[in-house]
Amino acid sequence: MTETTAKKGLHPHWNLLRFAVDQILRHRLRSAVVAAALVAILTPFLTAMAISEGVRAESALAVHEGADFYVASDQFGKNAPIPLRYLEEFARIPGVERAVPRVVGRAYVNERLAVIVGLPPASIPPGAGSILKGRPLRDGARNEALIGAALARHGGLQVGHAFQIPIAEGKTFEVVGLFQPTVSIWGADLIYLSFADAAEVFGMEGQASEILLYIKPGYEEQVAFSLDLLQMVERGRIFLRTQNKDLVRQYLNRGFTLKAGIFTALYAVAFALAIPALLVVSGFGMSERRREIGVLKATGWHTEEVLEVVFWESLLHAAAGAALALLLAMAWIYAFNGALVAQFFIPEIGLLAPFPVPARFLPLPFLLGFLFSVALTLVGSLYTAWRAAAVPPVEAMR
């Protein structure tokens, strides 16, 4: 039988792939150790990337649902309250659909730090969340609160319960409704009060933290120009600090890209450090493998055929490792709420986030992880296999 006739019309590469699968199954321990090493390296990376993407997506949603302009006053380069008298002026600017005052602050409620947002009840965006129990705030009603479900759970609050906010002595609020926020990272510890109540709690009567402007489509530039004009008319009595939707979106994106970038960079270092470790791991059982390669060469295998088997093995190891890492990353997020990793992307959440950590598993990080794995296993195994295959078979079998 000659080589050419045997190869005619048949599938040597398919045979080599099948042989690689057999080798993986035959050397279960070696395969398991390589896959475990890959899983250990990849799982935190995929978890982090999924959380980063989830937070980014929620932020984008929040920005999309939010106002077109956020106007506060500027004091020493920082946001400062803006007097409510500007509300009517802003509402008169051509193109402005609505001008809504908002008070935002933080306070402890039942020993838990909550974000308190005061808005006219009719202005609470419908996309902010869904009412789980009770009802929304009523226009004109006072001392009512709508509480995020996670905060209610941790604070032991239910519809009909009363609570106090320590910084607002003497005021008691009634929980009229529990809501599930659409954007969990912002909404979990949220309490909605009426604008008047929130202003009273934070001592901001006659002022708002910011005024939200909702603009008719196509009027953004005109409104921005009008705000600049207003600034000039005020002649230094107030400095307006305006942020539009695009700017907020840019800030958010830049922040998350930076964080994801830092994390990826840290991981690139970790991957680099993992290479020698994986060299050791994938060289695990190397003397046995070297002898086998010698046998294959002695029985007529070409070096490139041996290397092709090793390549398929590495590819399959990487695919198995990456798939397993993906499953574990999902478990990490959905069963353990991204503990230890989420705090890198969501500040001040502590060890375990009190709300479901948002996550999105996109193909790109998985593909990156898979490629990293392929590179790692190839570096670990191809070189050593090549060394075994390049020497005379007798030497490899010795």
Partner: protein
Amino acid sequence: MSGARYTIREVTKTYRAGTPHEVRALQKVSVEGYPGEITVVYGPSGSGKTTLISLIGALDRPTSGTIHLNGEEMTRFAEPALARLRRSQIGFIFQNFNLLPGVPAWENVSQPLIPRGMGERARRERARELLERFHLGHRLLHPPEELSGGEQQRVAIARALVGNPEILIADEPTSNIDEEEIDRLLACFTELKGKGTTLFVSTHDPILRDLADVVWHLKGGRLIEVERRSSASLPDRQGGPPETPAGGAAP
């Protein structure tokens, strides 16, 4: 199968050359092998038998000297050409069999056919055919660990024959098997010779000498005698076989 002719000239093989642990396994061996013959490479342990047949089998390269196969200098071949040679012309039976552990007998036998692109069914059929010929039809699915020494050797022989080689090389084939298996082995070698296969067998077992057409006597890495045992005239001898080794020491 037409067999193959070897011309070995001044072949030396030194391990760990240039170190204090240098070992001269072969020293200036010159000899010729003829197609369709059984050549027994005979000598005590450490005489260089395995080294010489490894060189003949293209499993190793000499430190110096040349080996021609059918007129081509195989010592000048690059590794891909040597691999082609091993695939298409040579079958090797190792002393310790070198079967892949944990792999069923039929897969061990058909393993050299994998990179040739032969489909699994055809490979299995070819392996079954060979294993049945060696009375191992009932052991197709057994890995080497579940086979006796003799059975493992028969699997190794089947593997060496799976590509229909012109040259079969066996290293100490009787060292790990019992008498009954030895008889079977001798019958197999005789049958192969009858089909025109050129055989090289290294051994220190006198029983195999009776089988030989020619015996190369090695001692201390030197060829000390070429003993022609066959009375039949040699085909196309081109000057006939040397009665004494060309480069080796006189007996």
